[in-house]
């Protein structure tokens, strides 16, 4: 079984696979709770539910927790303690856009000379199984960045539901090893499987292409467009809360805080947002981004031009969470339509 080969697993085979995985590894899957789907560690296969548009929150927190202690210092003994390695995990049924977000985060957080060891240990111990979309959500635009709707770029195995079961495409060595462990449940994919797969991706991409067309290279020159009237107008609405950054699968900016807790000096690292007026404000009060418009422009410029320049990958996967959840309707698609 080479990488990229397509296998087929029946519906019952998949249930068996899930049972096996839950008993041997920590499995995280979408679970429904009061009308919404969110990722949760599941105890048995029945809890996972796979017919959903997307989870409300991305799986980012399993790789970059919202708060993690990165350093402890015990003054009396001078002992310094650094957290250990994480446990073997399977992340099931991630949408292709969220999986692509992981490969973007790899470009950023694993880039030498200083890869982030906390992210690396979680990423190396997690096998990601993505599940292709059946129907694009209202605010989805993953076609713009080719991060879905059928195949992402950060997953180890791409699952696609077709009649009678799932197609499984091996995308990485880690995925191949996982599937190899349950070889008996899989069989070679046959031509009508592949036909249905091709038909699904044509239908989905066609449906989405009508919304916003695939992005061109001009976006990287967004830097010069910052004086545009659009940004002055749209920035007035922004409330400068942290919602868009906290629900974004790619936002990686973090803040650190040091404090004393029961005679132990602790340094924690956790999610931050560039919308906050304190993000670039220095202790002297000097701030390279003094106005709300500057910060508003940075958010779009960072994702669509600055991350590409520094880490050669777009900082957005078109999942639509920020578009749907923003209380005042700030919408990145308007920037894409205007300068995409």
């Amino acid at each position: 079984m080479r990488l990229g080969s397509m296998l087929f697993i029946s519906e019952d085979g998949f249930k068996l696979l899930l049972e096996e995985l839950v008993s041997s590894k920590k499995v995280i899957a979408p679970v429904e709770a009061d009308g919404f789907f969110d990722f949760k560690a599941i105890k048995h296969a029945g809890e996972a539910s796979l017919d959903y548009t997307n989870t409300r929150l991305p799986p980012k927190r399993f790789f970059i927790p919202q708060r993690e202690v990165v350093f402890k210092h015990y003054p009396e003994t001078g002992v310094r303690q650094e957290p250990g390695i994480s446990v073997e995990t399977v992340l099931l049924a991630v949408r292709p856009c969220d999986a692509s977000a992981l490969s973007i985060l790899d470009n950023i957080l694993l880039k030498p000379p200083h890869p982030d060891p906390f992210y690396e240990s979680r990423r190396r111990s997690t096998t990601v199984l993505s599940l292709s979309c059946a129907k694009p959500g209202e605010e989805c635009f993953c076609n713009v960045f080719q991060t879905g709707p059928v195949r992402g770029s950060g997953e180890d195995v791409t699952l696609t539901r077709i009649t009678g079961g799932f197609l499984a495409e091996l995308r990485s060595e880690r995925g191949r090893l996982l599937v190899n462990g349950f070889r008996s449940l899989f069989e070679k994919a046959v031509s009508e499987h592949l036909e249905e797969y091709g038909e699904l991706s044509r239908r989905l991409t066609g449906e989405m292409e009508g919304r916003i067309k695939t992005v061109g290279e001009q976006l990287v020159k967004l830097e010069e467009k910052l004086g545009d009237e659009y940004f002055q107008q749209a920035a007035q609405r922004c409330l400068e809360c942290s919602l868009c950054s906290f629900v974004c699968p790619v936002c990686y900016c973090f803040d650190t805080e040091d404090y004393l807790e029961k005679n132990t000096y602790v340094r924690a690292k956790g999610w931050d947002t560039c919308a906050s007026p304190f993000f670039t404000r220095m202790a002297s009060g000097l701030d390279p981004r003094t106005s709300r418009v500057d910060r508003f422009c940075h958010r779009f410029c960072h994702k669509l031009s600055r991350i590409p320049l520094a880490f050669n990958a777009y900082g957005c996967v078109g999942c639509g969470r920020c578009v749907s959840l923003c209380p005042t309707g700030v919408d990145i698609r308007e920037v894409l339509k205007r300068w995409g």
């Binding site: 959903y52 409300r56 609405r237 809360c241 629900v247 803040d255 805080e257 924690a268 956790g270 209380p327």
Partner: protein
């Protein structure tokens, strides 16, 4: 296009043409929903819309627009938060033209990834104190009369609140959407010495939400902007309603009812 929308647009157009105001705060169509908009030219007044999707409280922007003559579209609760802001000396009534719209209840947006409709009637509108703003320079009557559709909304038992708080991301959308949450150094934002760390710590969400509730008690007009802005849909308005009940019982005071009335949460009176 409803009669109310038409009337609203003509009021805004005349206010801008006669330079009575520099800016009109209103709502504009946006995809399936509606969002706040800032209209500064008369010919742009056509962007203004009115529908039950207009849940956001535009009074939030008034403090940052202080010193400028501004027109603002206001529901009953928005108007009461303007009264509260005036009573707390945050904005001056003279520079605000209130375009009061008779409200028949708003729809709360149901968020990303939900299996239901795009929005459902807001449960907090069932407890509305006044459909029309207590302060108004212009009044736009509602198209359809009659009470808003009742939306029962899931009942929240006392024991649910801790698990509701635990869902919170500490993204501060509730704090930033609330017109009455305007402290420059907020005690729960994480300024040192910090009551609550700047980074979300699940233990501290208890202090975060209870402190915000205490600071809302006797001031909150229950406009529901916090609840509708919350990405994990914590029914905050219900929590603040309980504390407003305490103020109604002890001081028979309803926030935002009359300009000049000293809010008991802020002003101590011997006989109070």
């Amino acid at each position: 296009m409803s009669r109310a929308e038409d009337e609203l647009r003509s009021i805004a157009r005349s206010l801008l043409e006669n330079r009575v105001v520099e800016l009109v705060l209103g709502y504009e169509r946006y995809g399936r929903s509606v969002r706040p908009c800032f209209v500064s030219k008369p010919e742009e007044a056509g962007r203004l819309v009115w529908s039950p999707e207009c849940w956001f409280n535009l009074a939030k922007y008034l403090r940052s627009l202080r010193g400028r003559r501004v027109g603002v579209v206001a529901k009953g609760c928005d108007g009461r938060s303007i009264v509260e802001l005036v009573n707390e000396n945050q904005v001056d009534r003279g520079s605000i033209i209130v375009i009061a719209v008779e409200c028949t209840g708003v729809n709360r947006p149901v968020k990303y990834g939900s299996t239901g409709a795009a929005s459902i009637p807001a449960e907090y509108c069932g407890r509305c104190v006044s459909r029309v703003s207590p302060v108004a320079d212009y009044l736009v009557k509602a198209d359809v009369q009659g009470p808003p559709e009742e939306s029962p909304g899931a009942t929240v038992h006392a024991s649910d609140w801790l698990s509701l708080f635990a869902k919170c991301l500490k993204c501060s959308a509730c704090v930033k959407a609330c017109p009455l949450c305007y402290c420059t150094e907020c005690s729960i934002e994480g300024f040192k010495p910090d009551l609550v760390h700047r980074l979300r710590d699940s233990k501290e969400l208890f202090t975060f939400h209870l402190t915000r509730a205490l600071h809302m008690a006797g001031r909150c007009v229950e406009c529901g902007a916090c609840e509708s802005a919350c990405p994990v849909e914590i029914p905050l308005t219900r929590l603040y309603h309980e504390l407003n009940e305490w103020f109604r019982e002890n001081y028979s005071y309803v926030p935002g009812s009359r300009i000049g009335e000293a809010p008991p949460a802020l002003v101590f009176k011997e006989d109070g």
